[in-house]
C-alpha cells in the first residue's frame, strides 16, 4: 500500500497547515468578540465599504 506513504504525509501536512492557521487566529484575537462578529454582518451600512485613506491599513485600526 505504497500510496499511503504519499497520502498520509500530504494529509498530515494539510492538517498541520490548518493547525498553524488556527494558532494564528488565536494570536490574532479572532475570537475576542464572537457576539459582535456574528452581529456585525447584519449591519446595513449602505452598500459601501469603510472608506479609510489610502495609507490606512488594518494595523492602524488596531492600536
Amino acid at each position: 500500500m505504497n500510496i499511503l506513504a504519499l497520502l498520509i504525509p500530504v494529509t498530515l501536512a494539510l492538517g498541520i497547515v490548518g493547525l498553524l492557521t488556527f494558532f494564528w487566529t488565536l494570536r490574532n484575537g479572532q475570537y475576542d468578540d464572537l457576539t459582535g462578529d456574528a452581529e456585525r454582518i447584519l449591519f446595513e451600512e449602505s452598500e459601501s465599504p469603510l472608506r479609510p485613506s489610502k495609507t490606512t491599513t488594518i494595523k492602524d485600526h488596531i492600536q
Partner: protein
C-alpha cells in the same frame, strides 16, 4: 462592465486573451488529429472572443475614481448568471441520462450520445458548472462584504471566473469527443487539470489579498469555509490528477497510480471533492446568507468555528469508506469509517446551528420562499451527513455499495443541500447586487421551491427503494446456498424506479429553468431600489461628489 476597467486593465486583459489565443493556436497545431487539437481551436476561439470584446471597448471612458469606495460586483453578477445557465445544462443532461437508463434507445445512434460520454457532462456540469460558479460568485460577495473592503484587483476575479468556466467547457466538450481519465469528478485530462491549478491558485491569492486589506478586524467564519474549499480541493486535485501524458501533443495520459493505490488516491480526492467543494464551500454560503436573510445572527458563532475546524480535520480522512470490502487494507477502511462517523458531530453542529438561527424567524420561513430554500437545505444537509456517516459503516456499506442507495445519498446532498442553498443564496443576493427592490416574481420562487423539494423527494425515495432492492437481491441465497437472483433480474426490477427518478429530476430541472428566468427578469424589469440619500449624486456607486469630511 469592460468600461469599469481602467485602460491599463483593459490592456492586461487583451494581453491575457492574446496569450490564451496563442496557446490555443499552438495546441491546435501540435494536437492535429487528436482531441487536443479540437480543444486548441476552442481555446483559440474563446481567447479571440475576449480579445475582440476588450478591443472594441478599449477607448471607452475610464471609470470614475469613486469606484474604490464601493464593492466590485461585476464578476459576482456574471458568476450568478453562469451558475444558473450551467444548472439548466447540467440538470438537463441529468434528466436525459436518467431517461436513458429507463429507455436506453433515447439516444442518437452515435458515440457522443452514449451514456458513458453524457454522464460526466451531468456530474461536471452540476458540480463544477453550477456549484463552482455559485461558489465563486457568492465568495466574491462574502469576502468583500464581511471584510468591508473592495477586492484588490479587477483582473484576477475575471481570470478566476472565466478561467474556471473555460475549464468547464473544455471538460464538457472533451467528454463528448471521448476525452476522459475515467476518474469520478476528475475526468478532464492533464492539460485541463493544469489550467485548473492555475485558476485555483489565482483564486486563493485573490482571497488572501482581499482579507489582507480588510477594514473589519475579524475574518467572518464563512470566509474560512470558502478558503478551506479552495486550498484543499487544489491540493487534492493536483495529487489525484498526477499523470503522464502519452505525448504533449495529445490528450491521452496515464495515471501515475494504478490498481488499489489509484483507487485510494481517487477516493481521497473524490470524497473530499464532496467534503470541501460541496460541503465546506456551501457551508460558507449558508453561514452568510441564512443569517442575512433571516436578519438574525448565527445562533452560536462559537459552534460555527468549532464545526469548521472539526469538519476540516475529520473529513479528509474519510475517503476510504468508498472502498469497503475491496482490496484496500482493512485498517485503512476502518480509519475512513471511524473518521466518517466522528464527522457527524461537526456536521450536525452546523446543521443544528443553522436551524437554531431561525428560532424567532420561523414566521419568515413560512412567508419567504428564499429563506425556506435555505432552511430546507440545512435540513437536507443534516439528513445527508447522517446518511453518509451511516453508510460509511462497513456492514451497512456491504448492503449499499454499488447500489442506487449511493446515488440517492449523492442526490439528497446535491439536490437537497447544495442546490437548495445555492438557489436560496442567489435569490437573496440578486436584488442586492442589481439594486432592485425585490425578485421579479415571488410566486415563481414559491413554484421553484415546491418543484425543487418534490423533485428531490421523488428522486431520493426512488433511489432508496431501488438501492435497497438491489442490495437485497444481490445477497439473497437459495436454500442450496447459491444466489437466488441474477444481475439481470435486479436490473429488470429497477425499471419503475428509473422512471420515477427521471420524473423527479425533471421537476428539479423545471425549477432551475424558472430560477434562470426569474433572475433575468429581475435584472431587466424589477424596479430599482432608490436609496435615500441626503446629498446629491449621480455616481453609480452612490457616492457623494466630494468625499465626506472625516
Amino acid at each position: 462592465m469592460i468600461a469599469q476597467l481602467t485602460k491599463s486593465e483593459r490592456h492586461s486583459g487583451i494581453f491575457l486573451s492574446l496569450v490564451i489565443s496563442i496557446a490555443g493556436f499552438l495546441l491546435a497545431i501540435v494536437g492535429r488529429g487528436d482531441p487536443l487539437g479540437f480543444h486548441g481551436w476552442m481555446i483559440l476561439a474563446v481567447g479571440a472572443a475576449f480579445l475582440v470584446a476588450l478591443a472594441r471597448q478599449l477607448d471607452a471612458p475610464e471609470p470614475t475614481e469613486d469606484r474604490n469606495a464601493s464593492y466590485y460586483d461585476d464578476p459576482t453578477k456574471v458568476g450568478i448568471i453562469l451558475a444558473l445557465c450551467w444548472a439548466v445544462v447540467g440538470m438537463g443532461m441529468g434528466v436525459w441520462i436518467a431517461s436513458m437508463l429507463a429507455w436506453p434507445d433515447l439516444r442518437f445512434d452515435a458515440a457522443w450520445s452514449s451514456f458513458g460520454r453524457l454522464r460526466p457532462i451531468h456530474t461536471s456540469g452540476v458540480i463544477f458548472g453550477f456549484g463552482g460558479n455559485a461558489l465563486i460568485a457568492t465568495s466574491f460577495h462574502v469576502m468583500q462584504r464581511t471584510s468591508r473592503a473592495r477586492m484588490p484587483s479587477q483582473i484576477s476575479p475575471w481570470f478566476v471566473l472565466f478561467g474556471f468556466n473555460l475549464f468547464c467547457i473544455v471538460a464538457a466538450s472533451g467528454y463528448l469527443i471521448g476525452v476522459t481519465q475515467s476518474k469520478e469528478y476528475a475526468e478532464p485530462e492533464w492539460y485541463a487539470d493544469l489550467w485548473l491549478v492555475l485558476v485555483l491558485v489565482v483564486y486563493f491569492i485573490l482571497y488572501l489579498r482581499t482579507l489582507a486589506r480588510r477594514n473589519e478586524p475579524h475574518i467572518y467564519v464563512a470566509n474560512w469555509y470558502y478558503m478551506a474549499f479552495i486550498l484543499v480541493v487544489a491540493v487534492l486535485h493536483i495529487v489525484n490528477n498526477s499523470a503522464v501524458p502519452v505525448s504533449f501533443f495529445g490528450a491521452k495520459s496515464y495515471s501515475a497510480f494504478s490498481g488499489v493505490q489509484d483507487a485510494m488516491t481517487q477516493w481521497w480526492y473524490g470524497h473530499n471533492a464532496v467534503a470541501f467543494f460541496l460541503t465546506s464551500g456551501f457551508l460558507g454560503m449558508l453561514y452568510y446568507f441564512l443569517p442575512k436573510r433571516a436578519e438574525r445572527p448565527i445562533y452560536s458563532y462559537r459552534l460555527s468555528i468549532l464545526s469548521f475546524w472539526g469538519i476540516t480535520f475529520f473529513y479528509i480522512w474519510a475517503g476510504s469508506h468508498h472502498l469497503h470490502y475491496t482490496a484496500l487494507p482493512h485498517w485503512v477502511q476502518t480509519l475512513g469509517m471511524t473518521f466518517s462517523i466522528m464527522l457527524l458531530v461537526p456536521s450536525w453542529a452546523s446543521a443544528g446551528n443553522a436551524l437554531m438561527t431561525l428560532n424567532g424567524a420561523w414566521h419568515k420561513v413560512r412567508s419567504d420562499a428564499t429563506l425556506r430554500f435555505m432552511m430546507v437545505a440545512a435540513v437536507f444537509y443534516g439528513l445527508s451527513t447522517f446518511e453518509g456517516s451511516f453508510m460509511a459503516i462497513r456492514p451497512v456499506n456491504a448492503l449499499s455499495h454499488y447500489t442506487d442507495w449511493t446515488v440517492g445519498h449523492v442526490h439528497a446532498g446535491a439536490m437537497g443541500w447544495v442546490a437548495l442553498i445555492s438557489f436560496g443564496s442567489i435569490y437573496a443576493l440578486a436584488p442586492v447586487l442589481w439594486r432592485r427592490k425585490n425578485i421579479y416574481s415571488w410566486k415563481a420562487v414559491e413554484w421553484h421551491f415546491w418543484l425543487a423539494l418534490s423533485g428531490t423527494v421523488v428522486y431520493v425515495f426512488a433511489m432508496w427503494n431501488s438501492g435497497i432492492i438491489q442490495g437485497l437481491m444481490w445477497r439473497t441465497y437459495t436454500e442450496s446456498g447459491t444466489l437466488q437472483y441474477s444481475f439481470i433480474d435486479s436490473l429488470v426490477a429497477m425499471h419503475p424506479y428509473y422512471i420515477a427518478r427521471t420524473f423527479g429530476g425533471f421537476l428539479f430541472l423545471l425549477g432551475a429553468i424558472i430560477a434562470l428566468w426569474n433572475i433575468v427578469m429581475t435584472i431587466r424589469h424589477s424596479p430599482k431600489l432608490e436609496p435615500e440619500l441626503d446629498y446629491p449624486t449621480s455616481s453609480e456607486a452612490q457616492e457623494p461628489a466630494v468625499p465626506a469630511a472625516e
